[in-house]
């Protein structure tokens, strides 16, 4: 692996965590609204 590969892997990990949290939060809010 080159140094660039390590940088890409690290930023991909951060993106997965933050986007995962965002999507999970949005889905929870939508489900709660759908239930009323």
């Amino acid at each position: 692996m080159t140094h660039d590969d390590f940088i890409i892997a690290a930023y991909a990990a951060a993106a997965i965590v933050w986007l995962g949290l965002l999507i999970d939060t949005v889905l929870r809010v939508w489900k709660a609204r759908a239930r009323g």
């Binding site: 692996m1 140094h3 660039d4 390590f6 940088i7 892997a9 690290a10 930023y11 990990a13 951060a14 965590v17 933050w18 995962g20 949290l21 965002l22 939060t25 929870r28 809010v29 709660a32």
Partner: protein, 238 residues
């Protein structure tokens, strides 16, 4: 201030205004911080381009420690005043804290391999952050192990208070022991040891992480609060 916000109605009324502001600030800070981190800031004279991992690794570590400290404070409030909002906060914040600790460890390993030649060593800093991950996992498992959620939260609060000893150990591990991890370079006596061209993206990304956390934890907190109120209502009817 803290006591005024202890009133759940007042807290959620304030949160209704704070959440969108935090979301907008997080988006702006992430956009500006990533541009600074990936394009504007220079490569390090020793680390080369790999220094860019620092801009996502260090804020993850700050947030992981900050979330645990806020949970421990809430746990103390819960144990003294038996405040339900404090318990709900700990339950809601724990998964985010766990993810930030995992992100800190993963990005640190991805930085360690090209810089140290290894993904992992059991030095004091890495081990104490790994213990923080175990504390988050232990708390998350413990609060789910009881039939009634408030019983788990009570046990979890004691775990959080006991585990707070790990926070100064993480902070000072690089000073108390000889570690492969470098010593503190931002929050240290004598001022930061980082050049402003690198400090700016680091602080902006730190702000992005903090605002992102606030923007995400507040709606989750409200949902958990509503679910708990519904559960208590059902129990009263039964």
């Amino acid at each position: 201030m803290l006591f005024r916000l202890a009133n759940p109605q007042r807290f959620f009324a304030v949160a209704r205004y704070v959440q969108p502001v935090a979301a907008v600030l997080a988006l702006a800070a992430f956009a500006y911080g990533l541009w600074q981190a990936l394009i504007v800031s220079p490569a390090d004279y020793q680390q080369g381009e790999t220094v860019r991992i620092m801009y996502i690794h260090v804020p993850a570590a700050w947030l992981a420690l900050g979330i645990y400290s806020s949970m421990a404070l809430a746990a103390v409030c819960s144990l003294i005043w038996r405040h339900m909002l404090a318990d709900i906060y700990c339950r809601t914040a724990a998964p985010i804290g766990l993810l930030m600790t995992a992100l800190c460890l993963v990005t640190g390993s991805l930085w360690g391999k090209p810089m140290w030649g290894t993904y992992w060593v059991w030095d004091a800093r890495l081990t104490s952050v790994f213990v923080l991950l175990l504390l988050y996992m232990g708390y998350t498992a413990l609060v789910r192990a009881y039939q009634q959620p408030w019983q788990g939260e009570r046990a979890g609060a004691w775990l959080l208070v006991a585990g707070v000893i790990n926070i100064p150990i993480i902070r000072y591990s690089v000073e108390w022991w000889t570690t492969l991890h470098q010593p503190a370079s931002v929050i240290r006596a004598g001022g930061p040891a980082i050049d402003s061209s690198m400090m700016t993206p680091l602080l902006v990304m730190g702000l992005a992480y903090l605002c992102g956390y606030i923007a995400l934890v507040l709606p989750r907190l409200r949902l958990t609060w509503e679910a708990r109120k519904a559960l208590l209502k059902d129990l009263r009817i039964a």
